[in-house]
């Protein structure tokens, strides 16, 4: 095992997994919140857009989305997201499209987690907010969403745990994260299959276990008492 750690940059690969997770997670949180606002808005066009996005993206395999981003958009249409003159442009492009696909995919789940949180809020909360003269946006920002986020912490935790593990799908477009390195190490060291898999599994547990425990603790601490 020490031999493997010395010969391969396993830590670096996990670092890439973390980088993907942070970038895609942030994107998913912002986009997912926006989608949730769309789905709750009184404007029919926005509502239709929100539900179409969620239903389309949530029901498509992530592998398809990721490969579509790389082959369909990057390779065939030449939609570059990275600076072409940079020596790392190929890797950068793959990373950015991968993050976009993973974040966009996870956003659909974030949206639904938030919406389930919104549904726990009694309708009287929004009525009271409107009664003191808050606009639709202020009602969402000051009263509905803060309570929805608190009620959504536990389901959001599960969503982000799933996302971190889903980041391994980016190996299919050659992003040098841990699953990508794993298949290379297995190719070159077939006799150490169990060790390699154990290291990868342990790495993910280290990444996701605190997240799940943190989410549970936070959701208890921040729970809105009624």
């Amino acid at each position: 095992m020490g031999d493997l750690l010395a010969r391969y940059d396993i830590l670096g690969a996990f670092l890439m997994t973390i980088k993907i997770s942070l970038a895609a997670g942030l994107l998913a949180l912002v986009l997912g919140t926006l989608l949730a606002v769309f789905r709750l808005s009184p404007v029919p066009v926005l509502r239709a857009f929100g539900s179409t996005y969620v239903n389309l993206v949530r029901n498509t395999p992530l592998t398809l989305l990721v490969t579509f981003a790389q082959f369909g958009l990057l390779s065939l249409l030449n939609w570059h997201l990275a600076n072409q003159s940079s020596p790392t442009s190929v890797a950068d492009d793959n990373f950015r499209w991968g993050v976009l696909a993973l974040g966009g995919y996870t956003a659909a789940f974030v949206c639904e987690a938030l919406r389930s949180g919104v549904n726990t809020i009694p309708v009287g909360q929004a009525e009271a907010a409107r009664s003191i003269g808050l606009t639709f946006t202020q009602t969402l920002r000051e009263v509905v969403l803060p309570q929805a986020f608190r009620a959504s912490i536990a389901p959001l935790g599960s969503t982000f745990i799933a996302m971190i593990k889903n980041s391994t799908v980016l190996s299919v477009i050659g992003v040098a994260e841990i699953a990508f390195l794993q298949s290379r190490i297995i190719d070159e060291n077939a006799d150490q299959l169990y060790t390699i898999m154990a290291i990868v599994a342990l790495g993910f547990v280290i990444l996701t276990l605190p997240l799940g425990m943190g989410a549970t603790a936070l959701s208890k601490r921040l729970a809105v008492k009624r």
Partner: protein, 257 residues
């Protein structure tokens, strides 16, 4: 027209809230039928009637928490706008107190009262807090300012809700069955605050089953049944000498115990 709304009780006050032929349906149910009602400045109007008569709906229609299909509602000469910023501005002048209090559960008592003044009126935080504390003292919950709604009793929460509405300096306040969700021993502390408020000259429209409050604080009692205004009179006149059969029947049922 049925027995005819009694207009003699309408005083010569300047009209503040005017409903003109307001109609509303819930599906097939015609909940508000050609409602005409004028509430003068400083007047305290109590809406009573059997459950399902449409009095809560009427109350909620006045600040457009419920929509209506035809007719018009004007507040201080301005017609109720449709959704949007205009409506929000108008609502800030119309206080609303709910049956279930509806305090913002994630905010402290003080934050509940300062939210509107800061976000809607653009008041400075320190100024809003100062004013909120005065109002909370006035309704007797000043010492609870740092707590969260769930830590207060129902009666205390409802008094905070009244302070939250007052913080907006409303032109009129609507009360939608403000004591119906309270334990009996807490009803009076809320009614006391409302009675004091009525004496300060606040314009109030109150949906309630508290006949004692109606007698003591109301300038006019409006009796509603089946979506219509059946009868209106001074409390004295209404309780001693109801003229419509519906009102006699209703009072007979509630006053015998």
């Amino acid at each position: 027209m049925n027995t005819g709304p009694e207009q003699s009780a309408v005083t010569s006050r300047a009209p503040l809230v005017v409903l003109d032929k307001v109609n509303k349906h819930f599906g097939d149910l015609h909940v508000l039928k050609d409602i005409d009602l004028t509430v003068g400045e400083g007047e305290v109007v109590v809406l009573i009637g059997p459950s399902g008569s449409g009095k809560s709906t009427l109350c909620r229609t006045i600040n457009r928490l419920e929509t209506f299909e035809s007719g018009s509602i004007t507040i201080d000469g301005k017609p109720l706008p449709e959704e949007g910023k205009e409506l929000a501005r108008l609502r800030s002048d119309v206080g609303m107190v709910f049956q279930s209090f509806n305090l913002f559960a994630h905010k402290t008592i003080l934050e509940n009262v300062t939210l509107g003044p800061i976000k809607v009126r653009g008041m400075k935080k320190a100024e809003a807090e100062q004013r909120a504390k005065e109002l909370l003292d006035r309704v007797g919950v000043g010492h609870q300012a740092g707590k969260y709604p769930a830590q207060l009793s129902g009666g205390q929460q409802q008094r905070v809700a009244i302070a939250r509405s007052l913080a907006m300096d409303p032109k009129v306040m609507l009360f939608d069955e403000p004591t119906s969700a309270l334990d009996p021993e807490m009803i009076n502390e809320v009614l006391d605050v409302m009675t004091r408020l009525a004496k300060t000259g606040m314009t109030m429209i109150v949906v309630t089953h508290e006949m004692g409050f109606a007698r003591k604080a109301a300038d006019r009692v409006v009796f509603m049944a089946d979506g219509q205004l059946v009868e209106q009179a001074t409390p004295e006149e209404f309780f001693t000498n109801p003229r419509s059969e519906r009102a006699k029947d209703f009072l007979g049922k509630i006053l015998t115990h």
